[in-house]
């Protein structure tokens, strides 16, 4: 019979609050990167999702993601709809030393931030109504199944042995790929100044990145689901990868563009946090340095390639979360070791090359499903409500045209 551990419970609840703070942090991170006429609409995407997915998660999302399997390892059933049977007593399956409601709340915060990440791709041109429908459908039809595949003991990727400590595939890869599809579907912004639109408020972006970094300790160390040594490991690897990626990105951009970019430091830190997410509880701090340096290099290259393409993923969600999530997932298969986490698996460097192939298979499956399902959702939503605003609204800015408000008084 599972019993509640007060220390574990306190840590999971605090971690849930830390992860919650990441979504407003993301709003500021994205808000600073767009033009001043679109800052409110960009912030609103994240803030509205905080309310929207909180409700859908309670009503059906948690049951679909973590509820008893329907039979094929693809999705949970409706046994826990409206949190029926999810109480203050521990679950028999998940985090057995904390109240089931605490585990549910912790997972809720992941479900909230994931669709919010996508919003950076269609910033500055998406109709708010269409965004709301898209967010409901995507969190239900894409996030919940993938979370079930990877984190439910009955999920098919879990059964194969794919490792994802805190959501490299479930959160970052799925949203990054969805962002790429959304950017392709909605098309380029009109009147863009090449090669890129300058951020309107860099301090806002850096503040957002700082809040994301802070909240990520809950995201990763909280995923130990206990106040223990594994949480400490994840905490240290998380900070180490973020730090290494930040200084590596700055160094690369300094050499490439001639100046140490402040925005680059912020984006680099986020890339490091993304890549360490699947690995945080399976790798050593030294491996986190290598992961941080590697992901900064790969994501920087991806962002440069994106700039040269015609794809207007406005805030580089795919380059950072899609590429960074895939990189981190595969790197987990390289650096994972049972010496760090006896409940994990050995990776390539510990003599198990098959784990890296498993991780790659997990990446491929997640990316393929997210791409196909996102495209279908966008197509259907567009039939009901046109996803893109008219050109005159885009020119005026979505703050005025969609929300009837302005961010900065004259």
């Amino acid at each position: 019979m599972p019993t509640i551990d007060t220390g574990d419970t306190a840590w999971v609840l605090v971690s849930a609050a830390l992860v919650m703070l990441m979504t407003p942090g993301l709003a500021l991170f994205y808000g600073g990167l767009v033009r001043r006429k679109n800052v409110l609409s960009t912030i609103m995407h994240s803030f509205f999702i905080l309310g929207l997915v909180s409700v859908t998660w309670v009503l059906w999302g948690y049951s679909l993601a973590f509820g008893p399997d329907t039979g094929a390892g693809l999705i949970g059933g409706l046994d826990w709809i409206g949190l029926e049977g999810v109480t203050g007593a521990p679950s028999d399956t998940y985090a057995t030393t904390v109240p089931h409601l605490a585990f549910m709340a912790f997972q809720m915060m992941f479900a909230i931030i994931t669709p919010a990440l996508i919003t950076g791709a269609f910033a500055e041109r998406k109709r708010f109504k269409a965004f709301v429908l898209f967010a409901v459908a995507w969190s239900t039809l894409v996030y919940a199944p993938i979370a079930h595949w990877v984190w439910s003991p009955d999920g098919w990727l879990f059964g194969l042995g794919v490792l994802d400590f805190a959501g490299g595939t479930v959160v970052h890869l799925s949203s990054g790929v969805a962002a790429l599809v959304a950017a392709l579907f909605i098309g380029r912004r009109t009147g863009l100044v090449e090669p890129a639109t300058e951020p309107h408020d860099v301090p806002m972006t850096v503040l957002g990145a700082g809040l994301l970094w802070f909240g990520w300790f809950g995201f990763n160390a909280g995923s130990a689901l206990g106040a223990n040594g594994l949480a400490a490991t994840a905490f240290v690897t998380t900070n180490t990868a973020a730090a290494t990626a930040a200084i590596t990105w700055v160094t690369i951009s300094w050499l490439h563009r001639g100046s140490p970019s402040v925005v680059g430091a912020a984006i680099g830190a986020v890339a490091g946090l993304v890549a360490i997410t699947p690995a945080a509880g399976f790798v050593s701090p030294a491996a986190a340095v290598l992961i941080g340096a590697g992901v900064a290099s790969v994501c920087y290259a991806a962002s440069q390639l994106r700039l040269r393409s015609r794809i207007d993923d406005a805030l580089d969600v795919f380059a950072v979360h899609g590429v960074g999530g895939a990189f981190g997932a595969v790197a987990t298969g390289v650096f994972a070791t049972l010496a760090v986490n006896p409940a994990g698996r050995d990776g390539l460097l510990a003599g198990e090359p098959a784990q890296m192939l498993l991780q790659a298979a997990g990446v491929a499956a997640t990316a393929a499903y997210s791409a196909a399902a996102t495209a279908a959702i966008l197509f259907l939503v567009n039939l009901v409500i046109p996803i893109r605003v008219p050109d005159d609204q885009e020119e005026a800015g979505l703050d005025l045209a969609q929300h009837g408000e302005i961010a900065y008084q004259p």
Binding site: G82, E84, V132, G404, P410
Partner: protein
């Protein structure tokens, strides 16, 4: 209770779909207050 909660959400969803677009006159007034004709005027 769960069915009632689901009905509340469905009602919200319907409201989002049928809700009016942003009032154009208010947007134009804000545009003027911002010191620039940001929003193109309707013909």
């Amino acid at each position: 209770m769960v069915i009632a909660a689901l009905l509340v959400f469905i009602a919200l969803l319907v409201a989002w779909i049928i809700a009016p677009s942003t009032d154009r006159r208010r947007a134009e007034a804000l545009s003027d207050a911002a010191g620039a004709a940001l929003l193109p005027r309707a013909a």
